[in-house]
Amino acid sequence: MTAKYPLIELRGISVRYPGAAATALDRIDLTLGHGELITLSGPAGSGKSTLIGVLALLLRPTSGSYLLNGLDTATLRDRECAWIRSRQIGCVLQRPHLLPARSVLDNVMLAVMYSGQARQCRRIAAFEALDLVGLAGEAHLMAGDLAPGEQQRVAIARAIAAAPNLLLCDDPTARLDDAAAAHVIRLLSGLRREGRTVLVATGDQLAAAYSSRVLAVGSMRQGITR
């Protein structure tokens, strides 16, 4: 059964930060379907992270419309955005942003803390996510004691613990060595095969090799070329 609406539909999205002379994103049009792995490429400062922020409902666009599963996000209130962020969108950031003095399991459970599920269900979900990234055995270690590559995998586990439809990754391999980066990219590719839409903003060529599409964000922030 095909989905009724595309997962993401951007129409003329522009973002200008307060006090900035130029726009960070200028009239972006983009449509993403379900179950795709898309690589968003472009030079530093081209607006990839800003676009990720808009898609993750962390930034409100200055103009344009953003339809998520057919729902106009401009009409959403704070609590509705929070619910969508907790259940439908997972974010993997450039830095893992783990709580170093807490266990790996606690860090992953953080993603489902606000879902309203019972603690035991959240624990199971967190373990499943850790198992998926191959870190179930390290669940009780302190997050700060892990290697950078492992920390990024914990961040991915945190992002997928709530089983979101959309996984947004903002340069997840930037701080990793080649081996760890390859591991992370293969992991993201595997998630796509499970039916999730994965959008990776990266300059890593390996990610492009695994992608169904590569979208280039222009350096002049004038749009996306396919």
Partner: protein
Amino acid sequence: MKRPRRWRRRLVITQRTSLWPGDAVSEAVATIVARPARALLTVVGTAFGVAWFVTALGLASTADGRVVVAFAGRLATQVTVWQLHPGPAPAAYPYPPDLEQRLEALNGVVAAGVYWRVGPAKPIVSTRGPGSPSIVARPTVIAASTGFLAAAGMRISQGRAFGAWAQSRAAPVCLLGSLIASKLGIHSVHGQPALQIGGEPCVIIGIYSHAIRRPSFLRAVVLPSSAAARIWGPPNPRAGERPTVLIQTRPGAAPTVGREAAYAISPARPHQFTVVVPVRPQRLRDHVTKTLSGLFLTLDWASLAIGALSIAAVTWLCIRDRAVEYGLRRTVGARRRHVLAHAFAESAMLGLIGGLAGAGIGVALVILLARYRHWVPVIAPLTVWLAPLAGAAAGILASLIPAVRAARIQPALALGRPPAP
């Protein structure tokens, strides 16, 4: 294509993220455990504030108790009676011979006796020691009945008091107050030292060191009233020799004894006497205790404010350090109220721990200080119960502004981005 936007919007509104209270508490505990140094700093600040809060309240209660005891013991236990209009000279002695028995029969009377100051001009008193120069002084000379010595709360430090025998025979004996005894160079009653009082020889049989209800009498010489009457004649009210009855009562009995005393002395003509009952110290006592309580209460609030400021300062710094964490929580679905709940739970817990520690320290301080001063420590149980809650409340209040600031953190901060347009 027309989208069913309204239907979809309703679907979203019905589903909200939530935070279980247990999760807020367990997150607070985990954060406290993860940052023990910061937690200790906050707890110490709160503990000091609450400890002083409990100490000040405990000291206020203890001081209040001391004030009550002091007032009850000093002011409300004496009644004074004298004749209102003495007759023409020579006036008759206004009191019956069995005055003391009549008054002591009243309920609430501990002791009673008569006294008067002898002569408008104080008689010259001189020592008479063999081989030593005499010392001359003009102390107050008091003629007193046997019961007066007890009613005035005189405490004999050397020798003995005169009794019924000396009174009945108008024996030429006397008691010296400790101050006049020192002035006359008499430090012991061994060897029966004597005085010349207005030319009359008088044997010193005792020295008293306290006269609780007449402290000025420590500078006086006290003779049996019968002896004074034999030497100088009956008291002459027109010469300032006013026989006065002093009654010692039990605490709280003075007003009742005051109403009955005149009738006991002269049932036929009770109105010829003036009865003075000291003003009940209730209002004065209340004023003193209120002032004390107000002072300590001010200190209480000041101490709590200091504790709250300490929490606020630490919480402020902590929230600045944890901006990324709060942003991350917002990213994974926390609403502003959830961030507020996290900040409040943590501050309340630290305040509660500080409050418990402070309450213990405060109680110990009150007990130690009271023991040092030989007071009875008085602490209202409510104070001890409320102190930890006060600490928690101070914690919540102090973290109000930092918590609101934390709740306003833009989730985009977690991505290391500037705030949204």
